[in-house]
Amino acid sequence: MSAIFDGAPLTAMQSPQPPHNTMSPQELGLEIKAFISGVDQAQGRKLSIRDHARCAVRLLRTVPACRGAALEHLRGVYDEYVLAFLQDLEGESDGGVAGSGVDVSGSSGLEDVIQEIHTVLSEFIRLNPRAWAPLVSAWAVDLLGQLSSKHAGRRGAPHSSSLNEPLQLWMSCSATRSLMESYSQCLAAMLAWCPDACVDALLDTSVQHSPHFDWVVAHIGSAFPGTIISRVLACGLKDFCAHGYPGVAASSPETPGRQTPPPHTTAVADKSSRVPKIGSVVGILGHLAARHSDSIKKELLRMFQESLTPAPTASDRAGARDSPLQLRRATVPFLLQLAALSPALLVLAELVESLRPPVLLQLQAQFQGLPREELDNMLGLTVHLISQSPAGGPRVLRFLVDTATPASVITSGLTPAPHEGVRDACDRLLQLLLLHLHKLVYNRPEGDDGHPLSAPSPASPSSPPPRIVPFLEELRGHVGELCAETLRLERKRHLWLHQLLCLLSVYGGPSVATEALCQLLTLARTPEELALASQLHAPLSSSLPGLLPAAITRCVTQIHTQSLQSKELAQLLNNLALAVQSHEEEAKGGSAGGASSGCVSAGQSSMVAQVGAAVSSHLHDFCPLLLHGDPAVSRAAARLLSCSQLPRAASPAQLLVISRAAVAHFFLALRLRDGGEEKDGVGVAGGRGEAVRCSIRLLSRLAAHSPLTLKSVLQQLVEGALYKGNADLFGGQAEEPGGEAVPSPDLGASLLDINCKFGTTVNFSGSVWSVFHAGVIGKGLKPPRSPAHPDPDGVTWNLQTLLAVVVQCCSAGGSGNGAGSAGTRLQRPDQLSEEPAPINAEAAKVVAVTLVESVCPDVANGELAWPPEEHARTTVERDIHIRRCFEASPLLFHLLAVVAAGRPALCYCSAVLRGLLATLLAHWESSREPAALDSPWHLQASCLLVSCMGEGQLLPPVLANVHEVFPHLTPFEVRLLLLAVWEYMRGNSPMPQKFTFSAERGLFYRDFSRDGDLSRYLAPVYSVLHKNIDRLGHLCWRFQL
């Protein structure tokens, strides 16, 4: 058994073969007398405690009838020993004063007796466990209980609240330790054939001496964990069954739910009065839970599963109360009850794992027969447990929802659909759970987050801390999953989850609510799904002010931290846009008197209204997304920006940033549309067209916002359009890689090398000095530029789009700076092709100035007045550059046309016009072709230039019409006519001052009659007409003054 006792010196009394043979009956009689009287019969003196105890041991070995008496006497010996032991301890703690020596000798004197007793008992148990183990175990356990509760109040004994101290103390006392060892030995022997009995005794004693006896149970439990756990549970179940489990009835969820976390001990106390053993079962398992929680959980689960194994025979049904069937029936209520008493014994999460459809069916079958109120009580208890369980909430929830969801053709793919009754039960359970949570959440005392929920709150200073609902507490971390589940919109499921989400938001306060809303906004894919967000917002908005702005801020933060996938990001932006748009439509509908949409979603309207405002305030945060790498994101951003109001209070910097991004996005969209039409299908292209449309709308909105933005937008539009990289979009010549831009790699020469060589050798070939317009010296002519217009339709479309945007911006920004033009502005995007509104002169001026800046590299000679034609030779270089620009980009003419329409803006382009005209003159002069038609580009350019100047009213109508005859003339004659134009321009400088505003038409007009005689400029025209009268007769009327 133990080395301590084995190692004790063997006296004659302790020898394995007791000396009973040597004692005659007479001696035995004397021994009994001595034992009873406590007086040595031979010598007539009183027996010491030791000798008396020895006498008892002798009787125990020899006279079976004295067994009870001897054991009872030995109790006293043990008691005496423990007393001495504790007194020693106390003496030690007092400093070991007088008297301790006696005590030590007393206790040490008993020590060998106790060893003797232990030896005898363990020998008996070893030899005949069947007979002795029950006897000794009952005796030992009772004695242990008595000792530990009797001495519990002593100074030396530690307080019983903690378990370790008593355990250490008692195990250091050899009396209790030897008892413990004997008991363990008995238990080890008895577990083989009657485990119930010994654990029963243990439990009974535990009830009687709780809590002083707990250390025994804990020790035994940790020595035989598996057995003790299962036996304790079995005993508890049996007892529970015997006492009738309608006891569940009294524990409706209100009772334990009222105290915040049900105080363990009181709950046990009031329960144990009714079902005595369950209290100690809970206590014991509670002790063991610290180290053996896994096995406890396993055991609980095993019990549950065993309770569901089908009855082996039908005869069991007719059995008595204690029949296996009855036990099985009681198991589930029992487990629930256990869990209600101790949170540590709750195995919901694991339990849920094992609830497969067949198990559920059995469960249902089992409880079908129960009376209604009992079922209700169990449901209530279950609900309470779920709401109080600190772990596994999401799994439980998932299970409940999965099971309660009605079967449908779509979902019943993997698992067989649950039985109808099971589903109903789950449904009910879920609804009760929601109801319960609702109560818990809304009856909470004043929240910690400072939002008063219940109106009549007493607001006492000593109000209890906010109640914790562990279930919700745990779900706080799973808001995202909940939202995702909710958005699946499966039948009833989303209703439940939505409700739960509401409760969770109220419970968790702004942080959770914000997260939930944010998640919903991010994850919703359809308007129906988006509606969930507003449905969530509606009940929360009353209790959580400022919820929506917070949610939007959170979204923005997410964007900034780039924690969203681009797909989600696009989704989020789209959803926001959708919300804003629906608000706009609603506002429109509402103003138009349509009450149809009013009742649809009052809550929604409140949300979308706030969404608009909130988005507006964060607009500049969204604009970087316009340039996001993912086209879907940028498109969505454009959509959002295009439909949301620009904040009035936005700073210029923000506005500039927005406008820059918007313009950049516009070109991006064009390019993408271009590419998309080539590569992808029609649908994608359509989507990209949508992007372009949004972009247009955004730009026009921006332009209309303020003069500043108008200027900025136009400027950047023009600059962007003329930017070399974008040239190919508009039919221009794209920059050739390896051309002018990167000459040096071809040559293999660096400026450093050349500088090093300079002065020693004069070799121009291969140096920077050898590069000319036409090519590099020594390399021949540059290869002619490839036409590179793979998609003329696309180019046309792009051109039109750009022009439309420009026109729209020009006309929108100028005509109404006031707020009254909002309505017309909104309609405009749809009316691109209709009668254009007059182009704002200011806007046109911006376009013109920008155009000049980008086309004309040289500011010298940039004055508006035209010099004599000869002066043109001073600006040859610049003129050539200008011409090249026009050659490279057909867009310029269109822009010029726009500028021309916005009179008098064309005046500001006079440098460009002049340069172009000068190069054209030079061309026609040097041209040796028979007809003007032979140099088509120059012909076209001349025509466009002149007509443009006519439109801009730089030329009078008669003179502007000359371009109509150009195709029929020779180059020289064209030159003559163009010279006439130049002359006119020189004589009548294009000055904006010459234009007057006509209020009724909203345009500037120039009165040519003030400019003096026109005929002297028309003389070359007439002479050319005359010379070619045979071909030009039909055009003569165009030149009549």
Partner: protein, 467 residues
């Protein structure tokens, strides 16, 4: 009586019990002065039950309980009292007043106390108590006897190791008690299940006793006036039938009850225990064989004693019904065991049965005809010896008044019994023979025509000792 009770109520449990004993002593001593047959009246019984066995008389009085040490003191006092009481009659009457079962709820306490008293008496060798206990075993219903035997067997054969010697020494002190003890033990352990196989120590002790002196089994029979009206359901006069059962059934019972523990790989049994069981099995069979020999010797002896008492052919010590029951049990056992596996054991059992039957019939201990025997044993499997016994003529004792080949039957008209021996012949026995409970019973002489019916009432009710 009631004034005594009131005074007792004020005392503590132990002194009250002592007072009751004192009262009983005075009461019965004075009664015996006046009358030869004292009456144990109801009041006395109630007093004993209330103050010694602590069964509350009415609800209002909280029963006082003695703790184990006080109980031991009381037992010690009883022991001393019975030891020192010189008058046998007073001893007997007080013992029976204390311990005769009354069929009420006090019986449990009564039996527990009796068990402890007898156990203690065995330990300290108090012969008077053992003699009283022997008489008690003779008078009481078998159910109670078996309970007492169980207590003793538990105490001395299983609980305290090595203490069986103490019990064994009783043989020399009180053979009469030994004889009754054997009878009770054979009734208890009838080999019908694993639990009812006698422990090895017990078996060894019993065999040693009988082998040393086979006459031990007949002591009760020889010392009892045959005419006495034995109460219903008491133990047999001799342990012979029980011993025959042990011998006959043991090969099969051991075989059957050891088999499961071997095939299942000792379910719930410690390995050591299983080994012990096997060892017991190995060691027990020679003991049974020895026992069988002794039993046969006793049967042979019986013939002389029966003839001496002039009861030969009139008193069957082995009742035919009981033998029939035994044969039936044997047949069931044979059926249960697979005959292929247990051929040897079946053969041995049947051989022993045949021998026992043969000798018992020959000795006049079993009164039955050969036809009865044949029909009785027809179910059993074939056995040469048994066949021989059933068919062969039985050697009649030379002085038999009957024809050879005819077994005297129990229903043959009885010869006139000798008149009941008077108290003069057996003073000690006659003193207690008219039991208090049976005082109303008419004397035997009034029914001379059918003495056997009262004499051999037969064990009509089945019982099993409480395990």
């Amino acid at each position: 009586m009631s004034d005594i009770r009131h005074s007792l109520l004020r005392r503590d449990a132990l002194s009250a019990a002592k007072e009751v004993l004192y009262h009983l002593d005075i009461y019965f001593s004075s009664q015996l002065q006046n009358t030869a047959v004292p009456i144990v009246d109801k009041g006395t019984i109630e007093l004993v039950e209330e103050f010694i066995f602590h069964v509350p008389k009415d609800r209002s009085v909280q029963p006082k309980r003695m703790n184990c040490v006080q109980e031991l003191q009381l037992l010690e006092i009883m022991c001393s009292y019975f030891q020192e009481q010189s008058k046998d009659a007073v001893r007997q009457i007080i013992f029976s007043a204390l311990f005769s079962p009354q069929g009420n709820k006090a019986d449990d306490n009564r039996m527990a106390m009796l068990g402890k008293l007898v156990s203690m008496a065995v330990a300290v060798c108090r012969v008077p108590i053992l003699e009283c206990a022997a008489s008690w075993l003779q008078r009481s219903h078998a159910v109670y006897c078996v309970r007492l035997a169980k207590v003793l067997v538990d105490d001395y054969c299983s609980l305290v190791p090595g203490s069986v010697q103490t019990l064994q020494q009783i043989f020399s002190a009180s053979p009469r008690f030994c004889c009754q003890f054997i009878t009770a033990v054979t009734a208890l352990y009838d080999l019908s299940s694993e639990d009812l196989i006698p422990p090895f120590d017990l078996l060894e002790m019993v065999v040693t006793w009988i082998f040393d002196d086979p006459r031990l089994t007949l002591i009760t029979f020889l010392n009892t006036p045959i005419s006495a009206n034995l109460p219903l359901g008491c133990l047999d006069l001799t342990p012979l039938l029980g011993l025959v059962r042990w011998c006959v059934k043991s090969p099969l019972a051991y075989k059957k009850n050891l088999k499961p523990s071997l095939s299942n790989g000792h379910t719930g049994k410690l390995p050591r225990e299983a080994v012990e069981c096997e060892g017991a099995d190995r060691d027990s069979q020679p003991l049974y064989s020895k026992l069988h020999l002794s039993v046969l010797q006793v049967l042979m002896m019986l013939q002389v004693h029966l003839t001496e008492k002039n009861l030969f052919g009139r008193l069957g010590l082995l009742l035919f019904e009981h033998v029939a029951q035994l044969v039936e049990e044997l047949g069931r056992l044979v059926d249960e065991l697979n005959p292929l596996n247990a051929t040897k054991e079946i053969e041995l059992s049947l051989d022993r049965l045949a021998q026992a039957l043969q000798v018992a019939m020959a000795a006049g201990a079993l009164l039955c005809g050969r036809d009865d025997l044949r029909s009785l044993c027809s179910r059993l499997p074939h056995n040469n010896l048994l066949q021989l016994v059933m068919s062969g003529p039985v050697q009649q004792p030379p002085h038999s008044p009957y024809q050879p080949g005819f077994y005297p039957h129990i229903h043959t008209p009885p010869l006139g019994y000798p008149p009941r021996p008077a108290a003069v012949a057996h003073p000690t026995i006659s003193a207690h023979a008219p039991l208090p409970t049976h005082t109303a019973h008419p004397a035997h002489n009034t029914h001379p025509s059918h003495p056997s019916q009262t004499f051999l009432p037969g064990m009509t009710f089945p019982y099993r000792p409480i395990r």
